[in-house]
Symmetry: C2
Subunit: 244 residues, 2 copies
DNA sequence: CGCGTCTTTGAGATCCGTCAAGGCCGGTGG
DNA sequence: CCACCGGCCTTGACGGATCTCAAAGACGCG
């Protein structure tokens, strides 16, 4: 209430912004939130639209207000590898480098809170505690990327698919219908197409599909028509992912 | 000379330390270098020794004074994926997290400048310009890791091997004997075993060896017995790596 | 010189990619 | 309301790239 004036000046909905709720802005004083917020604006994108183009100038930094985005590395011949999935409250854009080394494409409709890169970097210079928080995020991303490097380098197709499902469980568990412990009989949201999953796991859509079918026929998962997947045997899935 | 007293108090060879020369310490005032240096000590490791064990406590942060290190993710069944190579002036150790998510093993003999993690993190809190420099490094590592994610996910064995050789050229070019432009007819140092390369590229030693042989027989490279590789046709290698 | 380790090369087995056809589902228009 | 259409997903058959297993060769070290 006391600060709602400032917030209101800054952005209409700053209090609902994931930069606040998810902690990116946490610790930045209100006048300064006002300062940086004045730089930012909301942008909307439809599913399928390209937000960032690989090898183009890196011009903005953004926080995802809603929706899902895939980060893609593409080769000269069109092959593409998804190097990361982003969702609400994640950050988008390459700071401190002039060209983007990957593309960003919307999986769903997306709302972004966008800041021009250079001014944001200048702001960062005066707010080390904010940069520290970004630092932690990038380290976490590096950790996750290394995890997938292991998967792509060492695991076979069935293990990769199982690992992917477990990854879905970790991040996007909607909850189990009968209230069992997390991971068991849970329903997870999977807004990704077969092509997305294939590009992420370094497989073809056919191989992904075949492995989903195998898991379904073995009774480990149940595929719902609304892009949701029900995990019926978490332990078995875990064994598939970690053991051979 | 004026500051050599301070340096001398701090560490015997701080002026030769890669933290200075390679910029990690750059911008930190001398008394403060003294402060942090008092925390650090030199440690020596033999080739093959494990410095960090995956899933163990993350207890120190270090700068590599000399030597080469591989970062390894291992699965429960012994399979291992190299997720990064480190060399002189690179940093080692997971900051701001309690357990290491990968192992670190010496490829050559190694000298480290070691700092206990917690005090170093505390020092970092008071030196945002130092943390900023670490931030840039981690972003660069993330970028490189994504590059290899593309290689492991999308490229076939011959392309991966060619990409690996080009990567060697970028970082460790010893120079061409006849002074031609960089990359052409250059000799690169390759201190890695076939097993290392295989674990890095997600292949087997046999596949790596076969592809090296193929490149040798096609006249693109020449393998010297002292772990050096001569690049005879850089362009052809580049074509192999980027096109199919 | 002899030993062990790393590397190379070969032959066979396996997994996954490619090509192709058919099924499911939602949207559109009659 | 139903028929049609297009995109996405599934399933099958086949071939090829890579892994596995095996043996011989090269290199470094004592």
């Amino acid at each position: 209430m006391s600060d709602s004036n400032v917030i209101a000046l800054a952005t209409p909905r700053c209090s609902q912004c994931p930069m606040m709720s998810e902690g990116i802005c946490f610790g930045v004083s209100k006048p300064e939130i006002d300062e940086i917020s004045r730089l930012g604006r909301y942008r909307h994108f439809n599913a399928g639209s390209q937000i960032i183009h690989q090898d183009n100038a890196s011009e903005f930094f953004a926080v995802i207000v809603s929706g899902r985005i895939k980060l893609i590395r593409e080769g000269p011949d069109g092959r593409q590898q998804i190097v990361g999935f982003l969702s609400e409250s994640d950050c988008l854009g390459d700071l401190f480098q002039d060209v983007s080394h990957q593309s960003a494409e919307c999986i769903t409709g997306v709302v972004l809170r966008c800041f021009p890169r250079k001014p944001f970097e200048a702001f960062l210079k005066n707010h080390p505690e904010l940069e520290h928080r970004l630092f932690l995020r990038v380290m976490k991303q590096l950790d996750e990327t290394r995890e997938w490097l292991f998967a792509l380098g060492q695991q076979k197709a069935p293990e990769r698919v199982a690992s992917f499902l477990l990854w879905l469980c970790r991040g996007h568990d909607i909850g189990s219908p009968d209230g069992r412990k997390p991971g068991y009989n849970s329903v997870v949201d999977c807004p990704f197409s077969r092509q997305d999953i294939a590009d992420f796991l370094g497989l073809t859509i056919e191989t992904v599909s075949r492995n989903f079918s195998k898991l379904r026929m073995c009774g480990l998962i149940k595929l719902h028509p609304d892009k949701r997947i029900q995990i019926l045997d978490f332990d078995a899935l875990d064994r598939l992912a970690t053991a051979a």
